[in-house]
């Protein structure tokens, strides 16, 4: 009896898990399906079977050059991530290995900046960008994306560095390692998994950022998020093209996320389970 009921409940949980997963994935799936429809099919109502035409992709590619925003997305995501790591690694390092009374407060203060809605600082930042000539430039946007993700990057790295036991560093010191050797042979190799997953997460966050990238760009520095948005309003309702643009925008990051999911999951649950 007990075995039968546990088997039944397992089947129940499996079905429930699939339902939840499919529900969460459905918008993406439907976007992909719609991108393979003709405009006619797309507006005619709900249907899960497209005619598998690639015309929308072609149209998107010829009307609005895809490669320019793609290049911008890559530059912004990678650039802002590298910048963020350059700033965050020493910061997290200092806080993890020589904490003071105020370390926790500083960390909380950094995180608190993420609690504010971005739109609250839109006007001052918009004006700064306008006055300093940073509007619609890759440099301006790279710095902006670095700044908005910095608190998360510092927090993640801090958590990782904290996990490195102090005794290992002391052992290295006893073993005759200089500070340089300690960093080179002991700390860095141990910190690399943490740095890698932080890097991955930050690339994804920067890639998907759609508030500042749309507000502070027009054409020059516009990444894929702005590319999608450009299909939504000014040219009317072109569902199939909008979907095709979305698919082209999310595909690279989806592929990257798929291949690095092990790293990412480890990064996101780090510290939760020993």
């Amino acid at each position: 009896m007990a075995r039968a009921s546990s088997r039944r409940s397992r089947i129940g949980y499996t079905i429930a898990a699939w339902v939840v997963a499919l529900t969460l994935f459905f918008p993406i799936l439907y976007t992909i399906i719609t991108s393979l429809k003709t405009e006619q099919e797309a507006i005619s109502g709900f249907s899960l079977i497209p005619s598998f035409t690639l015309s929308s992709f072609e149209a998107v590619q010829t009307q609005n050059n895809y490669w320019r925003p793609f290049t911008n997305s890559v530059i912004l995501a990678v650039g802002s991530t590298i910048l963020a790591l350059i700033v965050a690694i020493p910061a997290a390092w200092a806080m993890a290995f020589s904490p003071t009374k105020h370390t926790k407060n500083i960390l909380m203060w950094m995180l608190s900046t993420k609690m504010m809605p971005a739109v609250a600082v839109l006007v001052p930042i918009y004006l700064i960008f306008l006055r300093t000539g940073l509007m619609d430039t890759r440099i301006g946007l790279t710095v902006m994306l670095m700044l908005i993700n910095l608190p998360i990057v510092v927090w993640m790295l801090y958590t990782y560095f904290r996990e490195i036991p102090g005794e290992i560093l002391e052992a290295a010191r006893m073993d005759g390692a200089s500070l340089k050797d300690e960093i080179l042979y002991v700390l860095t190799p141990m910190a690399i998994p943490g740095i890698a997953s932080t890097m991955l997460l930050n690339v994804i966050l920067a890639w998907n950022e759609a508030f500042w990238t749309i507000q502070l760009t027009t054409t020059n520095a516009a990444p894929l998020s702005a590319f999608i948005a450009s299909f939504s309003s000014p040219q009317g309702l072109f569902w199939a093209k909008l979907s095709a643009a979305s698919v082209m925008a999310i595909a690279p990051i989806l592929i990257m996320g798929w291949f690095s999911q092990k790293q990412l999951v480890r990064g996101l649950t780090f510290g939760a389970v020993k």
Partner: protein, 334 residues
Amino acid sequence: MGRITLEAVTKRFGEVEVIPPLNLDIDDGEFVVFVGPSGCGKSTLLRLIAGLEDTSGGRILIDGKDATDTPPAKRGLAMVFQSYALYPHMSVRKNIAFPMRMAGVPQDEQDRRITAAAKALNLTDYLDRKPGQLSGGQRQRVAIGRAIVREPAAFLFDEPLSNLDAALRVGMRLEISELHNRLKTTMVYVTHDQVEAMTMADKIVVLRAGFIEQVGSPMDLYRAPKNLFVAGFIGSPKMNLIDGPEAARHGAHTIGIRPEHIAVSPTAGTWQGRVGVSEHLGSDTFFYVEGTGLAETITVRAGGDIDLHHGDTVFLTPDAAQMHRFDDTGARIA
């Protein structure tokens, strides 16, 4: 060589003085154990010798040279940590090689020493594994291997066995003692376990609140504890301590008698009581005798074959020659 001298070494953390000025001599080749309850400053003292903590006063001499301000790497000491502190990303071989790599030892010499250490520590088959793939005992052996290959002036052990299970602990205890007999290198060993201290040490240093309560060979401490603290700390099970009229009868404030120095008889003796809990270890039996009116319980050791049960009346006769007497300050009366 490995002679370590502490001269009025002091350590303060902020306002708190953890180690008041302390003097100690550790001779070359000696196995010295720092023992004491947790928080007594024994680990801090070891870390001061290692150079992982800065002294707040006094001098540390290693082989006659002032090493007080010498960084840990330059003191020529090797340390084995409680948590093993292995480098998780390196194989066992690389872990053991690390100190030699830092010292620039030639590759063939490194290989020779690694092979020798691995053989001595039964690690030959594990050299290419990562620490995560080893058991606790094997990890601790790697940590010891890493210390050996440096050929240090002295080994420092910081509670190296506390993370191991009881059976493994006994095995490792023997291995470390054998290692000491073979290498004849100075070893300074920190533990809170008085059994480890008694079984391994040439010289035990009993610490309490940063103060040295007594320094001596295990048997010196067992036979002639300088005060009540050492009397209660060294020996297992603990020495029986008796206050009041019975102590006064012997001209002391407190008398101490070890469980093995009390004769047990079901018929006649000096003190009378009832058998409480008894622990049968096979070779020995420990009786916790209640209702003597002397102390809450009196622990006695008897042979394994004595037939006494819970609630039985029992007579105890202390061996007067083995009795320890202490005055009202807790100090031993000679």
